[in-house]
Symmetry: C2
Subunit: 361 residues, 2 copies
């Protein structure tokens, strides 16, 4: 039987609780598909700071390096909010992980599950029947990592400086990811930029147009980022795959996720070249409900499904999990965050939701 | 009687039509308050390109320099879309105008008029009774104007570069604008940044905190831009004044405007130090309905009201226009864009809407 080594990084808040359900689901998948998932737990975020003095301890990096994929929970909480930004759980763990492992392609689906349209802030006329947008965000370049960056000078003469740089190969590889993804879904890519103001966007648009020629079956359009922020609100169904540079992707993927109303349901993948990747829920560590066993484990379980698909080549198993999640939602199972007190709904806790999904598998 | 010199730049698409109503309203205000508005028309945008070869002709700049304020329509359209970005009507007119006249403070109200809540994509539960957010955007700094900026290298070795710089005085002056505005309204400022990633944001947050001490009566909070894009969708009423650097303000002000559902209703002001300013509708030139006399002139008329307030010191006259607009909406007057076919609504064209507002004055 095949063995996959998984670095399991539960993190803070609800992270450990929802991770427990995801690993249970992986065990079941392992039995069903005759593979072994060898999980090695490691500290990250606040747990890293508290136990090993750093949001991303070296032991954690080593464990990740020795693995086929990282399954990440969520990090952060009030306890660590007064630390300098660089040392805080989120920033201090996520940015180095992305850089060290070359996780250049961030895939963030924003899906409204048909049974949960009620949770969106958008009117039924706008979302009727749900929508399904995939934001593909460049994750290791642009204004996040380019130099120079820093604060120069003293007192009132200080100047804060950041740099947004993109090279042609950086744009090319993320564009391929977007077009390949679009091929398997709605066959449309909308590339976001601010080419009327930014030089990096002028290059971005040029390269995207160039790469698009290799995908004549996929329709390409372009949209300025300010307009995209509007169009998502106005008519999200117009989008299939949205391709963004790092900063625009940060903003638009969060906006799109919130428009679904079900942040606790959305997984994400951050992929390196080859099959390595990191998989994590789109939502946060929800410290307010941590430790109560009531968090929604679905985003973490769907993140595990993305891992199966992209890092383990187990597309069928991934689809089985997706289907199981839809089934339990159709059966009315709801954790508190998605409970709407409608007839047919059954309020369940974290573990019961895990049980239901395993049963559906 | 006092005289104000106004540079009137109708621009393209529906610009000239809605501007005609705004200048009619100004004439009425002039009579009522015994002042003279001396309007000088000038070309801008596509009209500038077609008539004088440039989106912002020198004659237009000279007329603006000789004026107390600029009343701007809207620019752009399919005819000029294939020009290089620098020469296009929007970019080629707006960015130089901002820089030449030092228009550093962009005020963009996002208001849902109680009679128009139906137009928003947001559910009634989310917006119930409307909301009123004022986005204050820094307009002459940051990644729009900082150097270095450009594309270096050849072929696949090209790199696109933009720079986001902010100095302490640049942050200070826009922060004062935000706090002074908040004082006259809900007394809350939410400052947007990405201080967990950007150095310019670290400085931004520090300076904002510092300036806030001079306004102990105003409550300050901070929010990361990605979270702000979510919170606007989730619960826009939590915001009063939103303070942003240039790029974040571009994105969030458009998102907020679209959330109201009434883009054709929203004015904006771009202010220099002193009393000079430029005033323009938030929406675009709507080439699809241009020339039919059916465009909504309200955003242009409310822009004129902002001009009265900020450049002419005529707060009472500005308020009178705001009230007149509310009155005609309550009376049921609707241009096509805001017509919902409800009982009590009267479908009117551009000129009839102008007439109604003048009558209400
Ligand atoms: C925590 C922060 C550095 C991070 C980012 O901006 O990339 C987060 O917002 C995200 O989207 O994963
Ligand atoms: C046309 C463009 C350069 C401009 C901007 O980005 O500032 C526009 O989007 C705006 O918000 O006024």
């Amino acid at each position: 039987a095949k063995t996959f080594k998984i670095a399991v990084l539960p993190g803070d808040g609800i992270g450990p609780e929802v991770m427990a359900e995801a690993t249970r689901v992986l065990d079941v998948i392992g039995q069903k598909y005759n593979v072994t998932f060898e999980g090695t737990f490691a500290n990250v975020g606040g747990a890293g700071i508290d136990n090993e003095g750093k949001a991303l301890p070296q032991t954690t990096i080593d464990i990740c390096k020795d693995s086929d994929a990282i399954l990440f929970g969520s990090v952060g909480g009030p306890k660590w909010e007064s630390l300098p930004p660089d040392e805080q759980p989120e920033r201090g763990a996520l940015l180095p992980l992305r850089k060290i492992f070359g996780l250049y392609a961030n895939l963030r689906p924003a899906i409204i599950f048909p049974s949960l349209t009620g949770a969106s802030s958008l009117k039924e006329e706008v979302i009727g029947g749900g929508f399904n947008v995939l934001v593909i965000r460049e994750l290791t370049g642009g204004i996040y990592f380019s130099q120079p960056k820093g604060i120069e000078g003293e007192g009132r003469n200080r100047i804060g400086i950041d740099t947004m740089k993109y090279s042609v190969p950086e744009i090319e590889r993320i564009t391929h990811v977007a077009f390949q993804a679009a091929r398997k879904r709605g066959k449309k890519v909308c590339s976001i930029d601010k080419a009327n103001v930014l030089s990096s966007s002028v290059l971005w648009r040029e390269v995207v147009i160039d790469i698009a020629k290799q995908y004549p079956d996929v329709e390409l359009s372009h949209m300025y980022v300010d307009n995209a922020a509007m169009q998502l609100v106005k008519w999200p169904k117009q989008f299939d795959v949205i391709l963004c540079e790092n900063m625009f992707g940060d903003i638009l993927s969060d906006e799109a996720a919130m428009l679904t109303g079900s942040l606790g349901m959305l997984p994400s993948a951050s992929l390196a070249e080859g099959s390595f990747g990191m998989y994590e829920p789109s939502g946060g560590s929800a410290p307010d409900i941590a430790g109560q066993g009531i968090a929604n484990p679905i985003a973490q379980i769907l993140s595990a499904a993305m891992m199966l698909k992209f890092s383990c080549g187990m597309v069928e198993a991934a689809d089985a999990i997706d289907t199981a999640v839809e089934t339990v939602l159709d059966q009315g199972y709801r954790t508190r965050d998605i409970f709407q007190n409608k007839s047919g709904e059954k309020l369940v806790n974290t573990k019961e939701m895990g049980d239901a999904i395993i049963a559906a598998l």
